[in-house]
Symmetry: C2
Subunit: 364 residues, 2 copies
Amino acid sequence: MSSEEHGAVAPEQTATPSSSATQPIIAVDAMGGDHGPSVVVPGAIRSAREGGFKVILLGDEKRIRQELDKLGPCPEAEILHTSQVAAMGEKPSDVLRRKKDSSIQQAFAIVKEGRAHGVVSAGNSGATVACGMFILGRINGVERPALASIMQTEHAPMVLVDVGANVDCKPYHLFQFGIMADVLARDVLGIERPRVGLLSIGEEEGKGNLQVKEAFELFKMTAMNFVGNVEGRDIFTGDVDVVVCDGFVGNVALKLSEGLCTSLSRMLKRELMRSLPARLGASLVAGALKRFARLVDYAEYGGAPVLGLQGIAIVCHGASNEKAIKSACSMAATYVRKETNDHLMAELTANEELSRFGKAAMKL
Amino acid sequence: MSSEEHGAVAPEQTATPSSSATQPIIAVDAMGGDHGPSVVVPGAIRSAREGGFKVILLGDEKRIRQELDKLGPCPEAEILHTSQVAAMGEKPSDVLRRKKDSSIQQAFAIVKEGRAHGVVSAGNSGATVACGMFILGRINGVERPALASIMQTEHAPMVLVDVGANVDCKPYHLFQFGIMADVLARDVLGIERPRVGLLSIGEEEGKGNLQVKEAFELFKMTAMNFVGNVEGRDIFTGDVDVVVCDGFVGNVALKLSEGLCTSLSRMLKRELMRSLPARLGASLVAGALKRFARLVDYAEYGGAPVLGLQGIAIVCHGASNEKAIKSACSMAATYVRKETNDHLMAELTANEELSRFGKAAMKL
């Protein structure tokens, strides 16, 4: 199953026209990721062309222009030269202090100035979240912005949140993650009334750790379509649209899924190479295997949005290929067109009392 | 890859004679699991025959005898009639109080009396752990017995601990889980010097939540082969032999792996049925697919030992088939022959000071 069929990757093409007439302008960190401009520039340009929006490419002007030259006339792109690059292993605080003219800091700076609506980066993800927090700031009432990952399941994509921005969360943090991811699933995945579950170790109420048990109480009181606890095995069945958890658990879950898919693909390939009939058969099943492989490919779903910032930020995998960058830029544009951040704010306000209750009254 | 090649399933056949001359006697809860005696009895008998040990089958005598009659003369088996059964959804405390003559309680009772060495059950796993705790008691110094799961990886089996017996763990609990799983990997998987990792969200020291950061300090001070933090994606590569985590995280990881394997297998099958060439090819690759499917089959690795009890308990999946029960009984027998519990106690004693320091001095 391709996520394109479900609107996760390129919702630009199928989205109904939004009430906003704004043409999205996306600031793209051209220096980010393992492959830098050679992958980021074509990904961004293809996405902008198909989706009818603009991109500002930040980074080394010469290298960016080299890549642009291969793509024909690019009226949808603008280059903003920056002199520094945030390295992958660099501490977020160091990037913030010492890399004022890095592509990633400048990308957020132009969003802050109103020259762009959102940022896409495949660079240092810790630095991206930190720059988002410090340069754009958080939405009023959000204590901890969260990283949401859109994952493929057997039937349709779903949102897992938080996948690593926050560890040692309080129950009301989880509650806020759920509110924000619910809006994301509605706007970006087009699900009218997302089924929201709390990741736990048993389906019955009362199962889980202290954090989950208390968060359950808050979710129970909202108007959202809360389906209760879900287990690890429920993530991929397609029976739930949003799964909420602490960033430690979510990051383990995300990386484990990635690792398991990679290992299984490798093992399947190895088994198929073992005998002559299998090798012959493998050529006949090549198409099926290719479709199967797409499913276990993170590029299908692109980037992870940071929820709760006063602006838009999509964090991409360091190993992103062109397709992943393209998907992430499309997602950012959808986010702008659908006015997702306005919806986030409205939902957070509607649930403000509950959040405050969770913060004040809960033990954990 | 079959785990049999690696000695995880039927180590009985390949184990070098242990110093102990004891013939293992395993108490098997014949009423446990979704399929009850029809699966448990043949699984236990086949294991006992191959491994040269004895089993005591607990449960409804009539139903057990029915199953035994199909298997020819069974001098390796003894029946112990019990009048009650613990239901799958029943609360552990209710089972303990109201089901004194249940097959699971009586199984632990005969271990306590010295008539058997260990228990294997595919029944209510919460009740199994609770009966183990209350009837057998914990090894001196162990505050929280842990559930260890032996999982297949690309290259060899590894141990994940805790997979659900404990949530909201303290750092020194994680430390004790690691000590015990290290012994398990040595005795049951035959790994001379297991590589022990702490499950976290970044490889560098200092990454993770409070619990993991403090546990890291304790692991660093031991003589075991501690390799530092590992991530979700490292579990299946075969680069680490023991992965330690809180029972909440471990349970999510275990169920997510199971769910993902099931979903992927289903999707692969669906893709292979889509076109005529793929269907033709599928018949040629059937052998390869079968080997692949074995890998994602929990039955290959049988049961999850409860570490830290004064006795042996192996918890099996409720949906266990005959092969899973057979594997679990073999593992219990290996545990007896290798005197694993004695080794556990020795290691815990050797690390007693560190555990005590962790309990007294750490913030969490």
